[in-house]
């Protein structure tokens, strides 16, 4: 089966305009998530503020352990032991005149009507996400019928078949057990499943890392095609910044449990405001641009149990200024996005920034280095 390939014809301005017009879907305020461990509480998401518009594709990128999955699970209210949302709210706007609800404040029962019909998820490992001892069909129909009890088993099954066909899997596989499908098929089945109740938002946590580039591309095409047709919003988490640049309307960069920069793909591509974003960008060799020697980010990711007092990235940052080690910068609105770097977020006035930068170039050289 061949799919229509997304054409990427919008310009950055058009994208921004579309987002602007679109009503807000999700409004995250001050969301904090902790992992309660014997060693101490790990704050894997710290004061996350985020706004998601209807139909928007938001990419989330960052190093391993930066809190991407944690954020996603918190948005879907899917944390499991030992994670707990410790503060903040997730305002969901149902649209129309209905008032917004704070998903973070609902208990499991109150959440039920929102699950899957409003917010659905695609997890990283399809193999682990499908129940190995239940036939594929039932894993579709149970959710379909839970949310639309009027449907009979047959109709639900037919609907499930349609969903599978949409992602290029023949409907007779409904009687198969998950282990009878190949990895790529499972992943696609999971995507089909996520669309079963026509959600407003699909949370995707690295849905393609386990598969081959070619398969990855194919799955993405299917997601994007469905998204174009159904208009749901997507939060897409991955390591792979190159990939995010290709598919997201906006991208949020996470570092040490915080969002450090938000911007459109275009802006992040040529005008990233945060040194971490730029370093991350450089870590992916291009395919079509001329080859030059690139370098990775020195040092190692921060230990969330023992975060530096200032900006978490400061120890690895070439441009770190004295103030960066003193207090964390705020995530502030900047043109076409947000940034949490003293150099670019406008928190410091120009004079102060110049003074700081001068001080930095004095003892320059990134601190930390290879400290492990």
């Amino acid at each position: 089966m061949t799919l229509t390939v997304p054409q990427n014809q919008e310009t950055e301005a058009q994208i921004l305009e579309r987002l602007d017009r679109s009503p807000t879907l999700l409004d995250v305020r001050g969301l904090c998530v902790d992992y309660v461990t014997e060693a101490g509480n790990i704050r894997a998401c710290d004061e996350i503020d985020l706004t998601l518009k209807r139909g928007e594709i938001l990419g989330v990128a960052g190093e391993s352990a930066s809190g991407k999955s944690t954020l996603l699970n918190a948005l879907g209210r899917l944390q499991r032991m030992p994670a707990a949302t410790s503060a903040g709210s997730i305002w969901y706007h149902p649209g129309g005149d209905e008032p917004a609800v704070d998903l973070a404040a609902l208990d499991e029962e109150e959440l039920a009507p929102y699950r899957w019909t409003k917010v659905s998820v695609v997890m990283q490992s399809a193999m682990a996400s499908l129940n190995p001892v239940i036939r594929l069909g039932e894993q579709f129909t149970d959710v379909i019928r839970t949310h639309d009890p009027r449907l009979g088993e047959k109709e639900a099954m037919a609907q499930a078949g349609d969903l599978l066909t949409m992602v290029g899997i023949s409907r007779d596989r409904l009687t198969a057990f998950p282990f009878q499908l190949s990895g790529g098929m499972q992943q696609r089945a999971l995507i089909a499943l996520s669309l079963a109740c026509d959600p407003d938002l699909v949370l995707m946590d690295e849905p393609t890392t386990a598969v081959d580039v070619v398969m990855q591309r194919q799955i993405l095409d299917q997601v994007l095609a469905a998204q174009e047709r159904l208009g749901f919003a997507v939060v897409f988490v991955t390591h792979d910044l190159s990939l995010l640049l290709e598919i997201s309307d906006r991208i949020a960069i996470m570092y040490g449990g915080k969002i450090v920069e938000v911007g459109t793909a275009a802006r992040l591509h040529h005008d990233a405001k945060h040194p971490y974003t730029r370093a991350l960008r450089r870590a992916f060799p291009p395919l079509s641009e001329p080859v030059r020697r690139l370098s990775g980010i020195p040092g190692s990711p921060p230990d969330l149990l023992d975060l530096p007092s200032g900006c978490a990235f400061a120890p690895r940052c070439e441009l770190a200024m004295p103030i960066c080690h003193e207090r964390p910068p705020e995530l502030r609105e900047i043109p076409q996005g947000r940034s949490a770097c003293f150099i670019t977020n406008g928190e410091l006035d120009d004079a102060e920034r110049a003074r700081q930068q001068a001080a930095a170039s004095g003892d320059h050289a990134p601190k930390g280095g290879e400290s492990a």
């Binding site: 014809q9 580039v213 793909a265 275009a266 370093a279 370098s295």
Partner: protein, 327 residues
């Protein structure tokens, strides 16, 4: 059931060069690396080292072989014994291969090796356990261990795929530097064609146990012939095609089934997914075409009409005397 993981592969590594091996999952890349590392044995054909066939089995000869050829594993978390100190891990190899060095000599050598792998100051790492190190650091320890024997050939099986984006480049750069300083031949196995382009001098593209296209990095990237190579290139994410750039994305991709290595197929294994497949792709043996200008070779009928290519031979996968050699 037999799985033909490799099927008539010719692959040559040259000193001071990095050859990349790219291809989809299950195409046989690891199998090649493990063949070279004598972990697997070929069912037919032979391995040549410096032109002589390798026929070692255990013992002294195997040790001698490993003095020249070393493998770096994909997962640095698994390839180091977590219960041994870095010092032990490295000096043990030194001791095996240079027993006459003496205690102090081995000590010095271990430190020197870590230094070569950019692990400075070495004293900070020697007495730690692998579990105390980050992935990138572990991979560098693994490389240092491989360097302990002064190898002529390094086989790096996806050395960065388990590593975080931010540290991946350091490992690649280290390999790149070793090519220059140690004049080793490196085989770099990867999924990621962009990193292959970044690092290597040559690229070999594998599909279904065969090397379907090989050539200098430049020619493979800029002038691919085989439809699979093209597909690989277009499927790989490219930051330059960022959303809003207006740049068209890739071509549509046919339904992709993973390659089926169990069936005995005549001709091209890619034919059933190939947008430009012809009847003869599966009815005739696959010929090998060679570029008239450089060392670019391709196993695909697409090259038949291309003026740049001449037919070198027919598919030799059925003939038993294939060889995979290193010189």
């Amino acid at each position: 059931m037999t799985i033909r993981a490799l099927d008539g592969v010719d692959l040559t590594l040259y000193p001071g060069q990095i050859s990349a091996l790219v291809g989809e999952s299950g195409s046989g890349k690891t199998t090649i690396a493990r063949l070279f590392a004598l972990i697997y044995r070929p069912t037919s054909g032979e391995l040549l080292y410096n032109g002589t066939p390798i026929r070692v089995r255990g013992g002294r000869a195997e040790r001698a072989y490993y003095r020249n050829v070393q493998l770096i594993y994909q997962d640095p978390f698994a390839s180091l014994n977590g219960l041994k100190k870095i010092r032990t891990i490295i000096s043990r190899v030194v001791k095996i291969h240079f027993p006459r060095l003496g205690r102090a000599g081995i000590r010095a050598r271990a430190a020197e090796l870590l230094e070569r792998a950019n692990m400075t100051p070495t004293s900070r790492y020697l007495d730690r356990y692998p579990t105390d190190l980050s992935g990138g650091q572990r991979q560098r320890v693994a490389i240092a261990r491989a360097l302990a024997v002064n190898p002529k050939v390094l086989l790096a099986d996806e050395p960065t795929s388990m590593l975080d984006a931010s540290i991946r480049l350091d490992v690649l750069n280290l390999l790149s530097d070793l090519r220059e300083t140690e004049k080793v031949a490196v085989m770099y196995i990867t999924h990621d064609i962009a990193s292959a382009r970044y690092l290597s001098d040559r690229i070999n593209v594998m599909y279904g146990g065969k090397i379907i296209e090989a050539g200098s990095t430049e020619s493979i990237i800029s002038a691919p012939v085989h439809p699979y190579t093209k597909l690989l290139l277009s499927a790989a994410p490219d930051p330059a095609r960022y959303k809003g750039s207006g740049k068209p994305t890739h071509e549509p991709i046919a339904d992709s089934r993973p390659v089926d290595n169990t069936s005995d197929i005549r001709g091209c294994r890619f034919a059933d997914r190939c947008p430009v497949a012809m009847p003869k792709c599966t009815s005739e043996d696959l010929p090998l075409f060679r570029s008239i200008r450089d060392s670019h070779t391709v196993q695909c009928w697409q090259a038949e009409d291309d003026a740049d290519y001449e037919r070198a031979s027919s598919d030799r996968s059925r003939t038993p005397k294939n060889s995979a050699k290193k010189e």
